[in-house]
């Protein structure tokens, strides 16, 4: 019964939160309206969402978000200084391959997004079997370090969150 009413409980919570953020005030009326939307939308769209992604440790997720936020600040400053103080041609840009240990599509999506938002890297493609990511580095003097850092800082944590 509960499963039928709330096919995606996390999505329901999320819709309520987004609705409250959208109207920008917390009142009982809006909470109810958000809850109605939060029940109706997952119900009507659940046919297109057969899988149910699991989040194993929410606390780990908060740690992950803080790490990523910090890296975004650092990466912005790094990229800004590269843009301002280096001639475009002198940047050693190239593609590197990051082999994946992750299996769940959600985790790989989050990892690819994180790579794009953080120091000097943009994720460009995934291998056809979904086991490796193609990453473009703006300044790749230590490509092996970059791969090791991505695997250590992000992939390790994502593996614990999603798998």
């Amino acid at each position: 019964m509960a499963m039928r009413l709330f096919p995606h409980p996390l999505l329901t919570v999320w819709i309520v939160v987004v609705w409250i953020l959208l109207v920008n005030t917390i009142t009982f009326g809006h909470l109810v309206l958000g809850l109605v939307l939060g029940v109706l939308i997952p119900l009507t769209t659940s046919a297109y969402w057969p899988g149910r992604p699991r989040v194993r440790s929410p606390l780990m997720m908060i740690e992950f978000m803080l790490v990523v936020l910090w890296d975004i600040v650092v990466s912005n400053i790094q990229v800004a200084s590269l843009i301002l103080f280096r001639r475009g041609d002198s940047l050693q840009s190239r593609f590197i391959t990051v082999p994946l240990d992750l299996n769940s599509p959600e985790a790989i999506t989050v990892l690819a997004g994180t790579i794009t938002m953080t120091p000097g890297t943009v994720s460009a493609d995934i291998s056809a079997d979904g086991r490796a990511l193609l990453v473009h580095c703006l300044e790749a003097d230590g490509a092996d370090d970059t791969v090791a850092q991505i695997k250590h800082r992000y992939e390790r944590r994502l593996k614990r969150i999603f798998e």
Binding site: N76, G88, T116, S123, A124, D125, S127, A132, H136
Partner: protein, 119 residues
């Protein structure tokens, strides 16, 4: 709203404007498509982030009301910016003969998804 609050808001707006300017400058300055992707996908994140924090501080100071619209903008930005960059990169890999040659190997039997379409 006086003193420190005003200074903080002004400083955040200036920092934000600076990073957005640098991001756009990078788009114009860097020599090729893949390098150009780096400027707007990153330098602008911190820029817009600072502007949004400035907006929240300002609303608290001016109306005494907490405004959290801005968090939503941040979330949408974090969802859309990487996806846009990824799609642009894929389109570029598909179209550019030169860059296709410079891709690193997958280290797997399968190729990169953009080029390995018929499997």
């Amino acid at each position: 709203m006086h003193g420190i609050g005003e200074w903080a808001v002004a400083a955040l707006i200036l920092i934000g404007a600076f990073f957005i300017l640098v991001g756009s400058f990078g788009l114009a300055k860097l020599p090729d498509m893949m390098r150009r992707l780096h400027g707007p996908s990153k330098a602008t994140t911190l820029g817009i982030g600072s502007l949004l924090i400035a907006s929240m501080l300002n609303f608290i100071g001016v109306s005494g009301r907490i405004s959290f619209h801005e968090l939503l903008i941040t979330i949408f930005l974090f969802l859309t910016a990487p996806v846009t960059a990824h799609m642009l990169a894929k389109a570029h890999i598909l179209r550019s003969q030169k860059d296709r040659g410079s891709l690193s190997p997958t280290g797997r039997p399968a190729g990169w998804a953009t080029l390995d379409v018929d499997k």
